[in-house]
Amino acid sequence: MAAERTRKRKRDQEDAIAKIKKGKQTKKKDTKKKKQGSDDEDDEYDDLMDMYKKKKPLPGQLDFCELCNKRFTVTPYSKSGPEGGLICTPCGKEMAKDAKAQQKANKPVVRKARRKIESNRLDGATMRGAKTLQQLCIEKIAKHADDVEEFGDLPDPIMKRLSEIFSKKRAMKPNTMKLFLQPHLDTVAIEEAAYLETEDFDQIFAIVPNIKKLSLRNCCQFKDSTMDYMIEKAKQLTEVQLLGANLVCNDKWIDFFIARGPQLKALKLEWLDAAFDDQAVQALAEFCPHLERLKLERCKRIGVESIDAIARMQHLQHLTLRFCTEIPQERLINMITSVGANLRTLCLENFLDGQNEEPVDFVIEAIHNNCHHLSKLRFTENHECSDASYVSLFSDWNNPPLRYIDLNSTRDLDNVNPDGPDDYPIGLGSAGFTALMKHSASRLEYLDVSSCRHISHETFTSIFDGTKQYPNLREIQLSFCPVVDTQIVATIFRSCPNIKKVVTFGCFEVKDVVVPRGIVLIGAPRAQDQIEQYGDLVLDFQREALGELEKAMMVAAGA
């Protein structure tokens, strides 16, 4: 009795399951049909036709596959073919695979090595079209650096380029470095010397004794002994650039200045924190009277006394300083007063007085009064000098128009009042920028006013109005000037016929700019897929220029 009941229950269960499965299938078919035919009439018609169709076999029964015509057992998982009939398991699997492939093909292809491409672009390696043959060869050589035995007689610019690329690829190891040492050279420049050991540096002076110009960056293992060897061997040395040579003690620097004193023309030292203090700079001023080019950046142990020492270097033409301490402005003014007259380049980064609460403009005044031959000026990261001081700097300045101006990050710093004081604008503002362009626009090639937040929109539009032309301007940096918008960028393209690069990081009003051919716009924040926007279009004003060029060529050809 009990057994019979269980059997009955089992049978009921099976029926129910079969019913459910059947229901599922018809439901599936319904949805499919709805997708295929959009019209309701069609559906009704199909339903009508379904009545005359052969009934589909239920799971467990046998049917012929719609695709391969093989007989197979229908399961709840059997798929329906393109004509609506059922298909066998192998055919079903095949179909699923195809569908997956189709889906994959429809997905947008994510470009491989995108980061690499972007990096190349920022390096300026690929603008458009193929790389140059030289570039291709150099890259290939760098890739096979370990197999190269000797370079032979390569032209100097190529050697330099190769050295740079080896450095960039971190391929400048002791074995590859020797490729760049040839007895006839007078320059050794290694951008990335971190892998080189003390003996390798000695090799430079052993193999290239006539070296005149030495440039080593990240030369961590450049030690006192190397310095001794350099003093002994490299008698012709006139230009030295060392970055991060922290194992050379103070006395050795002084020894070097004494040994190469009168002939030393250029010295560039960066990132020194262990040694090289005021005494060394004083020795430099004393023993190297003919120094023309001096760059001291981020040397932690030098301060006010070094500024006084630099003031005694009468032959300086190019001066770049970035100190890690605050310098009272009287000392800085004193320095500018004594060396300013001969300077071609003056770069003062992050020089703050720190003592006065009120704006102090006398440094800029000193530049105005003493420098009359500048072609490059950099005065950055300053929140003490007022807009008025920049106006007076560029007004009636007895200095030819500048080629290179970098005044980035000269703005007021006050979280409470982001626009700066109203009555007394701090940093390069509208008036200062107008005066700057009035003075230098005719020759200006490079302009950096990043983070000069107080320049107004009207000032930008009046300077770049689309009709005034700035024929030499090639690069302009406008990052973090919040007022810069699409209109300003578009008029810059029109106002600067030779512009190659516009940088607008953090200018959130720059949207959907049409970038003309040959120009790159970097940092447009709303750009959907790329940080850089390369111009594809030949805009109308460019077309005019091209047309004129063509006409001129035809005339020339006719003549």
């Binding site: 079209g129 030289q134 290939k140």
Partner: protein, 102 residues
């Protein structure tokens, strides 16, 4: 235009006597060849549409020609695939490329 007078194809001759005929437009992608063939320069190369390279051998010049066509093909496209260069040829090719200004 004046292009009618100019032949469409020019000949580059290597130091070991191999001759390569290629489109003038491609050949002129190399600055040195362009200057040599320019009728305004008035060189014999320009009249004969034929440039002889004493310092470049056939193997290298063949690769240079390959590059010139490759460069012309991709002149307007972005993200160009790099051309394959056999490592053994690199240094010689580099010197030739420097000379030809490509």
């Amino acid at each position: 235009m004046s292009n009618q007078k100019l032949a469409e194809y020019v000949t580059l001759v290597s130091s070991d006597g191999f001759e390569f005929n290629l489109l003038r437009s491609a050949a002129c992608l190399a600055g040195t060849i362009k200057k040599a063939l320019d009728p305004k320069s008035g060189f014999r190369e320009g009249e004969q549409n034929r440039v002889h390279f004493e310092t470049i051998n056939g193997v290298v010049l063949e690769k240079v020609c390959e590059y010139l066509y490759y460069s012309q093909k991709f002149a307007e496209s972005k993200d160009v695939p790099d051309m394959d260069i056999p490592p053994a040829l690199c240094l010689e090719l580099l010197i030739a490329a420097d000379y030809l200004d490509v």
